[in-house]
């Protein structure tokens, strides 16, 4: 059991609780940096994929997990980030410039869409953003001149300071590029959460009326959150495009939007950890399922083929989490950790939410 004595404000401002926690994260980072030497090409590629999903997850987490606005349209912003990055690169902009600009373009478009869309609440917002996902497909086909439409596009080679980065040719370098983006986004996200803007996101999520009463401009805050969310999602989209190598109007389908939302719910809404944990589930689940299929096949001597099984299993995991662990995998982890930290003083109802009053919709 660790007890932390607080003697200075920086202890609360610092993102880590104490030296112990900091060293754990540094070890994790060191392992992540060393991964190309520890894993074979196949698993490195899988890990790379997980990291890209984690970046996309952080993008959606800002909006849904921290500002409380659900979006079923984020695949559209993955697409926008992907296509703007590639189009910029094709027109001669170096990658080191094209990549950040692609995110910024996506963020600005996000703000423009947010201004009317975020007047909607809850399920209406979800439906409006769902339409966005469907529209994106059509727009890509209609603007085939730039996007390649149904025929799609191939990612051009990436050049960083004269060094060629390519998913197949130099998988290590591509992995480190992704890791770099993931680390930068994570650090920016952590900073935001310990600053006034991040707190105003949480305020808007938990109570719009009292956020207003505290001087938070709700419409503005939501628009900023949407913009930041889209910017990060745009970067993830750009990486996805480069990672896939080829893509067309169907790559960023509505299924991707739904998967992204399911992923952060499973990981744990309202925490950066949740984006990473959810990405691991989505990244390793297909692997896990095909392995289990082989095992079951070997045991029973039959071959199983169930189309759409992956998505079905994913859905069942989601339902299980919503029913039994609404705080997601991160919430479960917190409980396990508290159990060990307090051992043997953990009480069963420690995390039980108290329902102490009835909240009505009406202001009183």
């Amino acid at each position: 059991m660790r007890i932390i004595f607080k003697t200075d404000y920086m202890q609360d401002i610092r993102p880590w609780k104490d030296g112990y926690q900091l060293s754990l994260y540094l070890i994790l980072l060191a392992l992540a940096v060393a991964a190309p030497f520890l894993l074979d090409a196949f698993y490195l590629g899988e890990l790379n994929n997980v990291l890209i999903w984690a970046i996309a997850g952080m993008g959606l987490m800002i909006l849904t997990g921290h500002t409380g606005q659900a979006s079923l349209g984020h695949a559209a912003f993955l697409a926008l980030g992907c296509y703007s990055n590639i189009i910029l690169m094709e027109s001669g902009v170096p990658f080191m410039l094209a990549f950040p600009i692609a995110g910024i373009i996506t963020g600005l478009v996000g703000v423009l869409i947010a201004i009317p869309a975020l007047r909607l609440h809850g399920v209406y917002l979800a439906i409006a953003t769902l339409a966005l996902s469907i529209l994106a497909d059509d727009i890509i086909v209609l603007t085939a001149e730039w996007t390649g439409g149904v025929g799609g596009k191939y990612a051009p080679p990436v050049n960083v300071f004269g060094y060629n980065i390519d998913r197949w040719g130099t998988p290590d370098a591509f992995y480190w590029l992704t890791l770099g983006v993931a680390v930068i986004v994570t650090l920016g996200y952590i900073n935001l959460l310990r600053a006034p803007l991040g707190r105003s996101f949480i305020a808007v999520r938990d109570s719009e009326v009292s956020a207003q009463a505290m001087g938070v401009d709700v419409a503005r805050t939501k628009a900023i959150s949407f913009g930041l969310s889209c910017m990060v999602t745009g970067w993830a989209g750009a990486l996805m495009g480069l990672f896939a190598g080829a893509f067309n109007n169907e790559t960023f389908s509505i299924i991707i939007s739904i998967e992204l939302l399911m992923m952060i719910v499973i990981g744990g809404l309202g925490s950066i950890h949740g984006a990473f944990l959810g990405a691991m589930v989505i990244g390793f689940l297909p692997q896990f399922l095909s392995l289990s299929k082989e095992w079951i096949g070997a045991l029973t001597g039959t071959t199983i083929s169930l189309p759409g099984m992956e998505f079905g299993v994913f859905g069942m995991i989601l339902i299980a989490f919503i029913l039994f662990e609404p705080m997601g995998m991160y919430g479960r982890w917190l409980k396990i950790r508290t159990y060990f930290e307090l051992f043997p003083f953990y009480r069963k109802d420690m995390f039980k939410r108290q329902k102490s009053y009835l909240k009505t919709e009406r202001l009183r």
């Binding site: 949480i202 009463a213 505290m214 102490s356 202001l363």
Partner: protein, 254 residues
């Protein structure tokens, strides 16, 4: 000049006149209480001041500003803070984070400086935390400092909400039934806090309260309302013995 001034304010919800040509003003430094039976329109007056509703008629000015020209978020910027009758805290955040949101109106940083957490942001954060820690000490909230709101007992939430409003460093504090649902001891604490808020911090208080003991204990003036309109205005004793007030209460309970 009065700190807060409502003049001939009327608000209708469809056919119901929730606030009916109401005028009153709150002077700097006083504790002003609004009393009245359920449904009298007391909370609606607060929501009008917070700009959640637009009055059909009338004017509301605060500290020389026409509040009707301001957005809801602008009211806090002028120095008005409030609590809610049904408690509106940020449930999935800690007590400390809730109070820190109160500092929002003093934010000088922007999106970019916060993403990089520049030294200026760090300095501002330290100041915010210094301010908030004093409120935590004042309201005896130390044991709950890092606890999530979801899971805190009702009485503590009520106090946290007062703390969050104080964190905005307001000129005027609106308290909507600060003692409702509190035990006798908690109500006594609340009474001393309101006294200190006025005397030590120099904050003007406008409160809605049913507990007449608390009202006569802390307030300088009392406004009694019924059906959205003024019944009586004066010292707690004057209002309590006013025939119209006695009738309204007896009428309401009969």
């Amino acid at each position: 000049m009065s700190l807060l001034n409502l003049e001939n304010v009327t608000l209708r919800f469809g056919g119901l006149t929730a606030v009916d040509r109401l005028s009153f003003s709150v002077e700097k430094g006083e504790v002003f209480a609004i009393v009245g039976p359920n449904g009298a329109g007391k909370s609606t007056v607060f929501n009008l001041i917070s700009r959640f509703y637009d009055p059909a008629e009338g004017s509301i000015t605060f500290d020389g500003h026409d509040l009707l020209k301001s957005k809801p978020s602008g009211v806090a910027a002028y120095g008005v803070a409030r609590t809610f009758q049904n408690i509106e805290l940020f449930e999935h955040a800690t007590v400390l984070q809730n109070l820190l949101v109160g500092r929002h109106r003093h934010r000088r940083s922007n999106l970019v400086s916060e993403i990089f957490f520049t030294p200026a942001v760090r300095k501002q954060e330290i100041q915010n935390r210094h301010y908030v820690e004093e409120i935590i000490d004042f309201l005896d909230l130390q044991p709950y400092r890092d606890k999530m709101i979801a899971g805190l007992p009702y009485g503590v939430r009520k106090v946290v909400e007062v703390g969050r409003a104080l964190a905005t460093d307001p000129k005027l504090l609106l308290l909507d039934e600060p003692a409702s649902g509190l035990s006798v001891e908690e109500t006594t604490d609340m009474r001393w806090w309101i006294d200190d808020i006025r005397r030590q911090m120099g904050i003007t208080v406008l409160m809605v309260e049913h507990d007449m003991g608390l009202v006569s204990g802390v307030s300088d003036r009392v406004l009694a309302m019924a059906d959205g309109a003024e019944l009586a205005l004066g010292t707690p004793q004057q209002v309590q013995s006013h025939p119209a007030v006695i009738e309204a209460y007896l009428g309401a309970s009969a």
